[in-house]
Symmetry: C2
């Protein structure tokens, strides 16, 4: 049976064009069945526009599920999730809950997607708080998993311990790291460095069944030496947005400077492949969105400004998540720990 | 009278070579008198090695003040500050306290430098907590002031308000921004976004005599649209180290990729000026260390891996800090507020 992923087609900044394009790519090369959820006529028009008026004829497993409402980036989260029962994200989540899809991908309002996922998909019994796992590009190629990058602005030590275990399972199962090491985001390597939360968390971490290496710092994110980094969701979200902003700034600066003179323009042309390669290595869309770890079912959240490749890769992640039985593994490991302690 | 700056010559990773080189540069072109504090024979050897065996003969105002002990990066801060009374940083701070120097520059163990500064220089009466102000490069050229970047891992709303006022004065006086706007580092622009600390701080900020623009995010640091960004010292330090790590990673990637083929090597040569320019724009050493705001006297803290230019620029900042009567301004503004409230 094909893995079926429900894609919120109305979520991102350029919806539904990007979502439709990503879905077509995924249906082509991932052997996945895609349910595009949203305003039927707009999705159909976009499919036609992109040369796929009738997916079945092209042997693409793409179907449209109509949902009339849209949650925008400006909608107040709590209200929108409660009231907009026919929103694309809510309908997509319902498809997963009812077993009609194996996972959910959305580039919509992150707060609303998380709230909907928690409400509709439910949290695993042994998990206190689902966490959003960001995958950061590194010098070594394999991504560093940083969690939480925004689901929980306020965290307790016990939450961070659970994040560490969920992140380890993710790194092992999806990124293929054999024995992922785990660091605690802090402001110095020594145990005394940090804030109240990190100091209280340290001892819990040391006793947890993970490959814990102690405190790490911001500069350790990109070296590839640390596989999983744990932080509260406020700090994690600040790191994510700071990194995105800095990459954008550097690329912008380079582009401007390389366009300054004929010489640098020629230089830029000759070095084009090098730039492309660096850009690709830094490209968040390669990793395809942030999975919400700790829910009973699967939800992968993409950036609002995602391109089609990011949507396609998020569908890939959702599929691997399902195939790898990640939720079951998380519940089993955390459940076992709860029995021991 | 020449402004006199005491430089901890034994602080940085490459002390005293880098400190001596920075001091020579500063004495050359900043019209400043430098007191190099540390093991006399090593400093003297380094001066000779760098072609300045007798500064006075070259009309350079450089003097050596002997201090026998050194606080290393691994020294436990509290103990080192208390016990090593003849350490270079402590003696340098004493020179400032005794009025023999107008300010202090150190690239030593940040925790020890901050503790020594607070102990020896004292905190301004109206300031609860001195804060370390990091200056970040931006697309517009003028630096964004982010504080606190590491002096206070745990902060209260009232502290953040004081940081905002001190940062505004710094941006105005040293960076020349006429009416600096101030943002609160958070994880979304809306008032409800953030953690307990940011939500509690928002109302205080709105009532403060600053040009407050509300919550900002990590990506706003590098655009140059926000002049002063306030955060607790844990988050600020994580931002600082994340940014440094990412810049290093990107530059490393570029270098590797550009060396891959003859074509990209030629391309890189032709675009050399563009790269140099970008590197310069991103170069933290251009901004010369982080001033500790809120002490009675002046202390500028440099990165342990600072180069000579960073030391020279830190001396420049310390001099401008003194000439601009920054401490007096901070005390006057915060003191006035305390009377009003």
């Amino acid at each position: 049976m094909l893995t079926t992923i429900a894609v919120d087609a109305m979520g991102g900044d350029n919806a539904p064009a990007i979502e439709v394009e990503g879905a077509i790519q995924a249906a082509h090369d991932l052997r996945a069945r895609i349910l595009l959820v949203g305003q039927e006529e707009r999705i159909r028009a976009e499919l036609e526009h992109q040369g796929v008026p009738n997916p079945r004829k092209q042997r693409l497993h793409i179907e449209i599920i109509d949902a009339r409402e849209i949650i925008t980036m400006d909608d107040p989260v709590a209200q929108a999730v409660r009231r907009k029962r026919d929103s694309s994200i809510r309908v997509a989540a319902r498809l997963v809950r009812e077993g009609k899809a194996h996972g959910l991908v959305s580039a919509g309002n992150t707060g609303a997607v998380m709230a909907t996922a928690k409400l509709m998909l439910g949290t695993l019994p042994s998990v206190d708080r689902p966490a959003l796992a960001g995958i950061f590009p590194t010098l070594k190629g394999v991504g560093t998993v940083l969690l939480d990058v925004g689901a929980n602005a306020e965290c307790k030590p016990e939450h961070l311990k659970q994040f560490a275990i969920m992140g380890s399972i993710y790194s092992r199962s999806i990124l293929g790291v054999r024995n992922p090491n785990v660091g605690l985001m802090s402001i110095g390597e020594e145990d005394v460095k940090g804030n109240e939360l990190t100091r209280e968390t340290l001892n819990l971490m040391k006793a947890a069944p993970i490959n814990f290496i102690g405190n790490v710092e911001g500069r350790d994110i990109f070296t590839g030496d640390v596989d999983v980094i744990v932080s509260d969701g406020f700090t994690g979200n600040v790191i994510l947005k700071t990194s995105e902003g800095l990459v954008e700034a550097i690329m912008g600066l380079l582009k401007t400077e390389l366009g300054q003179t004929i010489l640098t323009q020629i230089g830029a042309m000759l070095s084009l492949n090098a730039f492309r390669s660096v850009k690709k290595r830094l490209d968040y869309s390669e990793f395809g969105g942030a999975p919400l770890l700790g829910c009973k079912q699967i939800c992968v959240i993409c950036h609002g400004s995602s391109n089609a490749k990011a949507i396609r890769n998020a569908i890939r992640v959702a599929k691997e998540f399902y195939k790898g039985k990640l939720s079951e593994r998380i519940e089993s490991e955390l459940g076992r720990m709860a029995v021991i302690s």
